[in-house]
Amino acid sequence: MSNVLLIEPNVVLAGTYMQALQHAGYTAVHARGAQEAVDAADATRPDVVVLELQLSGHSGVEFLHEFRSYGEWQTVPVIVNTHLSAQAIAAVQPALNSELGVHMCLYKPRTSLQQLLGAINQTLAAV
């Protein structure tokens, strides 16, 4: 059973994602912010991370830099699921992919639960 670390500031949305993840057979843990996510990663050793880039306090990019600075988390796949449009992240996406190991970027408003689960399955199958 794979562990999913979900980093999502919207608690209601996170509740829906958590239900879907658990229903799909994953063990999932939810963190609302970057620091909470680092602590959760320490405690649960995630197999994949699903990340919103816009968090309160520290941003998703700061989380990624911090996360990747630890040896054991350098290869954990990360899926960005954000409400920022492809246009908004176009300038930073190459660096997200190449330097911070983001496997894919999903545009949250147009990503169904099934598509998110599909992306997680696909990512886990590829590693």
């Binding site: 602590d39 320490d42 990019v61 989380f63 830099h65 911090e66 630890y70 992240i89 300038a91």
Partner: protein, 232 residues
């Protein structure tokens, strides 16, 4: 053991063993330091307090025998919070921090600390375009490395003239007059912009230069080329 106090900016953080972190810091008084931050991994401080990136902190530390000292305490003095509110500014900040960390492998001068603080101030100000920040930072690195181009005279020694246009001779790191009947890439306004940036003009000041959008591409290309030709 003597405890030392200084201002510091974090350049990088890496893990060390199960519970500790090694911080690479730039200071005005002691150059670049590697300090062991004990127990940081197991407390809620990985992204918190005085060990945040894009911040200036006051630190207390003990010098180590093997090059790695120990961090005793930190106090956050200034956090440049607008940087991390913008994805592109954050990414550029990380990129330039990494570059500075690389070019200061040897013991750096205190000017590098001032450069970094200037960089944070520029990134924190959303009225300063990122292209200007990048251009300014590359020019300052060239200056600190002693690779400032000659902006006063031509490669042949004649003074640069306002009415002429020039091309840049990378072998001699100086301008040469454009061939007769041909417009050179650089006008007097380009050269003024280059003088401004290489004399330490702030990014804010640069961003207010008239016709910056027209002048910046050629000047930026020149600075980038110099950075490649003459590694800092």
């Amino acid at each position: 053991m003597n405890q030392l106090v200084t201002s510091a900016i974090i350049l990088a953080r890496t893990d060390y063993g199960e519970a500790d972190r090694i911080l690479t810091l730039l200071t005005p008084d002691y150059g670049k330091l590697s300090l062991l931050a004990k127990g940081v991994r197991r407390v809620k401080s990985k992204l918190a307090g005085g060990i945040e990136l894009f911040s200036v902190s006051d630190i207390t530390f003990i010098k180590g025998r093997g090059g790695v000292g120990t961090l005793v305490s930190t106090r956050l003095v200034k956090h440049y919070e607008h940087i991390v509110a913008d994805l592109e500014r954050t990414m550029l900040g990380y990129e330039l921090l990494k570059r500075l960390n690389k070019v200061t492998e040897d013991q750096p001068e205190s000017e590098y600390f001032d450069l970094l603080r200037g960089l944070f101030e520029a990134l924190d100000d959303d009225e300063v375009p990122l292209a200007v920040v990048r251009f300014w930072f590359a020019a300052q690195l060239l200056t600190l490395g002693g690779h400032m181009p000659n902006l006063r005279t031509e490669a042949g020694g004649n003074r640069l003239e306002a009415g002429r246009t020039y091309d840049f001779d990378f072998d001699r790191t100086a301008f040469r007059a454009a061939e007769p009947g041909r417009e050179g890439r650089f006008t007097a306004d380009h050269i003024k912009l280059l003088r401004l940036v290489f004399s330490g003009g702030s990014p804010k000041l640069l961003s207010k230069v008239a016709a910056l959008g027209t002048l910046l591409p050629a000047c930026d290309e020149l600075v980038r080329h110099l950075t490649v030709v003459i590694p800092s």
